[in-house]
Symmetry: C2
Subunit: 703 residues, 2 copies
Amino acid sequence: MVSDGLDAIFSPRSIAVVGASRHRGKVGYAIMHNLIVNEYQGTVYPVNPNATSVHGVRAYPTVLDIPDPVDLAIVTVPAEVALEAVEACGRKGVRGLVVITAGFREIGGPGAEREAKLLDLCRSHGMTMVGPNCMGVINTHPEVRMDATFAPTPPLRGTISFMTQSGALGVAILDHARSINVGFAKFCSLGNKAQVSGNDLLEAWAADPETKTILMYIENFGNPKNFVRIAREVTKRKPIIAVKSGRSEAGSRAAVSHTGSLGGSDLAADAVFAQTGVQRANSIEELFDDAMAFSLQPLPRGPRVAVVTDAGGPGIMCVDELVAQGLQLAELAPSTVDSMRAWAPPEAALANPVDLIASATAEDYERAMDAVLADPGVDACIAVYVPPVVTDEVLVARSIWTAAKRRDKTVLCTFLGRSEDSPGFVELVQNGIPSYLFPESAARALAAMHRRTMYLARPEGSVKRFDVDRSRTEPIVTEARGRGPGRVADADAWRLLEAYGLRTARAEVVRDAKAAANAASRIGFPVVIKALGPDLVHKTELKAVALDLRDGAAVRSEATAMARRLTARGLALDGFLVQEFVRGGKEVILGMTRDKVFGPLILFGLGGVYVEYLKDVAFGIPPLTDEDARRMIRSIRTYPLLEGVRGEAPSDVEALTDALERFSQMVLDLDGVDEIDLNPVIVLGKGEGYRVVDARFVLGPSA
Amino acid sequence: MVSDGLDAIFSPRSIAVVGASRHRGKVGYAIMHNLIVNEYQGTVYPVNPNATSVHGVRAYPTVLDIPDPVDLAIVTVPAEVALEAVEACGRKGVRGLVVITAGFREIGGPGAEREAKLLDLCRSHGMTMVGPNCMGVINTHPEVRMDATFAPTPPLRGTISFMTQSGALGVAILDHARSINVGFAKFCSLGNKAQVSGNDLLEAWAADPETKTILMYIENFGNPKNFVRIAREVTKRKPIIAVKSGRSEAGSRAAVSHTGSLGGSDLAADAVFAQTGVQRANSIEELFDDAMAFSLQPLPRGPRVAVVTDAGGPGIMCVDELVAQGLQLAELAPSTVDSMRAWAPPEAALANPVDLIASATAEDYERAMDAVLADPGVDACIAVYVPPVVTDEVLVARSIWTAAKRRDKTVLCTFLGRSEDSPGFVELVQNGIPSYLFPESAARALAAMHRRTMYLARPEGSVKRFDVDRSRTEPIVTEARGRGPGRVADADAWRLLEAYGLRTARAEVVRDAKAAANAASRIGFPVVIKALGPDLVHKTELKAVALDLRDGAAVRSEATAMARRLTARGLALDGFLVQEFVRGGKEVILGMTRDKVFGPLILFGLGGVYVEYLKDVAFGIPPLTDEDARRMIRSIRTYPLLEGVRGEAPSDVEALTDALERFSQMVLDLDGVDEIDLNPVIVLGKGEGYRVVDARFVLGPSA
């Protein structure tokens, strides 16, 4: 139904502008103006009870007075009368609404009520609505040509579709895009997203043949679970590039260290983007740079880049950024270099970067580009051009796009020192070559394209379903809930882990030193003992832990001493945990925190200081596929330690992958649990698995 | 002498253009054209044997034919006749030369010879020369107005002076600067730097009242020691912002791990920049963004930033980048917020970021800026403006600069969606407000300014001189040299460390197991033993190390077993190192590698995997002041581990600082040594010092 309504919104045969105005400066004027001046291909009906015509077009007092059917109504009247106008639209049989009018949920209490009524009207009349509080919609298709916004700059036609949660930013972006010759297929300012959501548009644009690249400016996710599902499908077919504001929430939390506080929602957003293949741009500038590249050029097949330049310095700077972004400088075949030697001046440096020196002509560029693009060792080429005094930059631009069109390899360009409306620049962009003022921008955009190549090539994996007896696990959580929020008792935590098949270190909870020694004999030496008690959270600081005890006597004497020490400090002692001492292996951490928006967020990292000071952790959103789990493990910087360095045996990464998959299932099942820390988990050598040594489950206040 | 010559180059009363041409497209034409069209205030004498006039100005066959004195000659004739022309200049008494002509050292063999002769001519005639192979020089001072380049765009007058090692880049940058309204005081394309170097210009521009900010594009350092000395002085007075290409050399080495290979010269450059206060820009775009900020606005006194915006989204993006860059969102005083409430619309959000919403007028901006700039909790303000349809952007721009001028706080602006030549943009820049297209750029530029604030505030420290008996150390190195390049014997390394007062773990070198046990008794238990032999480099892998041996019997049996194992594998065994086993403490590494350009480069980091996989290391260029040493230690990400976490005692950072200072002196003294690794050094608790446990000194092939 929404998709049907979206059709009425983006490709209406007739539009009513409710609140069309004769007064310049009014939104209802600007929208009429934009529709007419940009030659909307259907029929526009201004609705204004106080005018007989607007912009020379016959006006009607209400929508109901329009003699013909109306597909779409653009509502610009004040909030006070908006509901009435919308109801008239419903009675008229209007199918699509774009509500520009502000004064709804964004102003709080009475506005939110008004928005609920608005939504009711849409539902009861079967209307689909964008907004309210938005800046309008655009479709540049030649059979539609609809600019139903009040933006001052009409967009060029292109293959990018752009949705924005900030109307102001949307207008600014249309402005900027025009100035750098970037065109759009569709544009939608989402406003309050009362009905039509970003997810709806993603689905619609995924199916839209006019849209090749989808851009999003996001402030928050309405339905993150749907977003994950939909985006995962869409990115298989089309690139989605997103800017999400709100990074600094993570920034402000960077000082804090444990799982809970590491899980700011921006990290969750990052994890969502990584798992769904949505490309995150770090700034609006990057959004554009990437959009231009994706919409104009094919993806590079690999990371090997050739740089052709007429000036050494800028060439090096381009290479610097390419390498920093993880791309490679292609090694040119000797035959490629030889073929250039035939015509290049002797001073030219023909190894990659190919430096044609300042005397380079348009012909030189064409021949050099032909040569490097023909080289099978080259996946992409960046042409760097510093216009000297005398060459004609348009001729050089023409050579570059001409050579590029002969091959289906990726070509980007830098026209250093020129503004984006200089003739060479325009020549390039209009002929399909993404062009940038600075070499670093071109390198970054190419790297973004290559990331998509990699994403498309990576195996998807699948979500395994482990056989867990929930009739055993549910009572544990229910009982714990009964005791209120806070930390779940260790024994319960242990039973949950075991139910999900997570391997724990053998352990027993006992009351006193003597029982500890007996338990140790059952478990097998060496053992660890840990004092248990409500105040004993930071056990190491309190010396409430003793490691590597090798016989019963040692266990008994350590436990006795520990009890004496803690009691002397007035700390209550409930007993001891006696646990298998896991020798060797590496400490890792598996964690879960519940993000306000995204729900559970899984963390993996090497234990101890790696997590605390180096933030060497990976995040994932459950359910994790096996490939997601593997990628999380491999993505930490200290992953080589798990592979084994300096003659050490490799760790059991496969068992760890399995653990993450089981953990993923567990966190989705355990609804009331807000935080889990399995820390440390000791991963042993290949084939030997891992042991969860300590586990902390925290129930949320709502549980 | 050079400074006198530079005066002739930058402020000549008369200029001879040797090779002035009547033909458009020739360099000798472009330079004449630029001098005349841009109204050079002195007298120009074209020199051309085949023309009676050039550009309407009487021409002379040679310089010697000019009837008046000539301060500066611009040489554009072909390389073949350049020496002859330069000699004529010398005989004429010309004081300054700018040699545009190419075909010198940059083309290799014969060119290098020609360059040597050129330099001889300059020296013998007392001439100062910029170039050869350069693009010329500019001075925009109204009494000079000299554009002696062949760049197509004359620069605006401003307070930035810019030197570039790439002429092409220089021209492109002049072009771009003009398009964003950034002006220059002086410009110099350095070319081959045969005589006048970047260092000479740094000294001259430090003293130049017209120059407020110095920009450099650097490909390599001619004399890095001088650069360090000079830059350190200059940055106390004026900001130096530099782009250095060649970052990717470090990138390509990033996979390798030990001290030697971590010391790529780009890391050295980074260390130089950090120690001298030169601000490194990561791209040409950043160079400009920073230059505009530094040249137009005062430095922020602190990190607290207010953001005033008319649109939420861009405001958040600005804050995101501010926080990511280490700045803080200022907390506005309640009175500040109240004062805005008096006039702001109810929908406006008046906590920082101050969101005036889309209806914001020019007056609103002025009042809001006034309010936040008057707040003592605000050090700087970024005004974010998204031009809506109807407001006049020039009025808003005027409000912003008007409010900014009333206080001496830092103000930057973002005019989102506008191009850099839009009227609001121009209004701002011309009135001293650095303005950017994107909010992230403004945030980054402000952060660069704040880094300078911090640099100027930090104590300089001093280089200590430790009393070392070089009559003891020199023979050690001399003898080692006699044995050829490669690793210095452990005993010698140990003696060197001790001579410099570096504290080593007590140790003895012995021949066999029995002697090891005896040595251990002298040293005191527990001890470590390490097998010594030419092939025993990776001792852990070879099991050639035994730790924590607690009595003589253990030492003897371990040593015997070790000897048997190694001999069985055919590895030669020279004996054992018996060493105090240092318990507790943290492993750190002190290293030195000799950079081709900068000479010794000192590395500090936490030991083990922190260095290898996390690259958590700091670099410094000796001589290190005590403050340099302290900063190196504090700058690693794992520094909190040294301060003590989770109830651990803090490490002896002061002793470590002393160690780095001594190490710095040692590496400067030991000329032939190419690499030193003190790894591990175990740093103990506060007051307990550290022990160097293993040391590797490597003599270079040239030694």
